[in-house]
C-alpha cells in the first residue's frame, strides 16, 4: 500500500478527478466568514447559502415531480444569506425565508479569510439596522453627527 503524507490510501475510495475551477467547501471556506464590502467595511457574517437550479439547462432536466431538487439537475449558489440565526442555532429549526437577507453571488468578488463584495454596504438590505441606528439613535446624541476623523 502506497503511503502518503496523509497516511495510507483508502482503496474503497476513488481518487477525485481534477476539477476545472477553484474548489470551495461550504463550511470550511464560506459559512461564518465575515463579509466585507468594496471599501472593506463589515457587512455581516455569512450564515447560510441559497441554492437553486442552474439557469439555461435543457428543458428535459427538471427537478423531481414534487418540485424537490435532486442530483439530476445542476445546482449553484444563487446568494449568500444572513439573518437572525442565533435562536435557531440554539433551539433548532430555521428562520422563515422572509427573515433572510440575500447577497447575490454575482456581488462576491473574492473568497479568502473573509468574503469580499464588489458593492457598497450602504445599498444593501442587510445593513438596514446599522443605518437606522445611525440615523435615529446615534445621530440624536449631541455630537453624534460629528466625524472627528473627517473634520481633522
Amino acid at each position: 500500500m502506497r503511503r502518503t503524507r496523509t497516511g495510507p490510501r483508502d482503496l474503497s475510495r476513488e481518487p477525485e478527478p481534477q476539477q476545472p475551477g477553484r474548489i470551495l467547501d461550504a463550511r470550511l471556506h464560506l459559512l461564518d466568514r465575515q463579509v466585507l464590502d468594496i471599501d472593506d467595511l463589515p457587512v455581516c457574517t455569512l450564515d447560510d447559502l441559497e441554492l437553486e437550479v442552474a439557469g439555461g439547462e435543457p428543458a428535459d432536466r427538471v427537478p423531481a415531480e414534487d418540485g424537490r431538487i435532486d442530483g439530476s439537475v445542476p445546482v449553484v449558489i444563487s446568494a449568500l444569506l444572513t439573518g437572525p440565526v442565533l435562536g435557531t442555532r440554539v433551539f433548532g429549526g430555521r428562520p422563515p425565508a422572509s427573515r433572510w437577507y440575500r447577497l447575490p453571488w454575482a456581488h462576491v468578488s473574492d473568497v479568502g479569510t473573509v468574503v469580499h463584495l464588489s458593492v457598497r454596504s450602504a445599498g444593501l438590505d442587510a445593513t438596514w439596522l446599522e443605518r437606522w441606528t445611525r440615523d435615529h439613535v446615534v445621530g440624536r446624541i449631541p455630537g453624534g453627527t460629528h466625524d472627528p476623523e473627517g473634520s481633522g
Binding site: 503524507r5 496523509t6 497516511g7 490510501r9 483508502d10 474503497s12 475510495r13 476513488e14 481518487p15 477525485e16 476539477q19 476545472p20 475551477g21 477553484r22 474548489i23 470551495l24 467547501d25 461550504a26 463550511r27 470550511l28 459559512l31 447560510d48 447559502l49 441559497e50 441554492l51 437553486e52 442552474a54 439557469g55 439555461g56 423531481a64 414534487d66 424537490r68 431538487i69 435532486d70 442530483g71 439530476s72 445542476p74 445546482v75 449553484v76 449558489i77 444569506l81 430555521r94 453571488w105 454575482a106 462576491v108 468578488s109 473574492d110 473568497v111 464588489s118
Partner: protein, 119 residues
C-alpha cells in the same frame, strides 16, 4: 433550498442503509462566468460515517500540526468520502420534518461512487 437543508443530514444508500452524515458541501467555481468569480456549482457532498460535523477539515487536508490534534481529528473522521451531486437521488425538503413518515435524509443512487475528499 438552502445549505442548512443538507448539512448534518443523515445519508442513506438506495437500500436504506445508513452511510453517515453530510458534513460539508463542495462547490466548484466553473459555472457561468461573471466579472469577478464564476458561478459556484454544487459538486458533491462530503459524508462522514462517524461524526455529524467536521472541525477545520483536517481529514481533507495535508495539515499535520498541531500534534496530536491533527492526527486525532483525522482519525475521528476516518472513512470520510465525497459523493458527487449526480449520485444524489433525493434530498430533504423544507417540510420533511413535519411530514409524517418522511425523515429528512439524503438518499444516494444505486451504484454511487465514493471519492477521496481531499482538497
Amino acid at each position: 433550498m438552502i445549505a442548512s437543508d443538507l448539512l448534518d443530514t443523515p445519508v442513506h444508500d438506495d437500500a436504506g442503509a445508513h452511510l453517515g452524515w453530510v458534513v460539508d458541501l463542495r462547490f466548484v467555481l466553473d459555472g457561468r462566468p461573471s466579472t469577478y468569480l464564476a458561478g459556484a456549482r454544487l459538486h458533491g457532498l462530503v459524508v462522514s460515517p462517524r461524526t455529524r460535523t467536521s472541525f477545520l477539515g483536517f481529514e481533507r487536508s495535508d495539515v499535520r500540526h498541531p500534534w496530536p490534534v491533527a492526527p486525532l481529528l483525522r482519525w475521528l473522521h476516518r472513512g470520510t468520502f465525497l459523493v458527487h451531486w449526480p449520485d444524489v437521488a433525493r434530498v430533504p425538503g423544507a417540510d420533511d420534518d413535519t411530514d409524517r413518515g418522511r425523515d429528512p435524509v439524503v438518499v444516494l443512487r444505486a451504484g454511487y461512487v465514493r471519492y477521496e475528499p481531499g482538497l
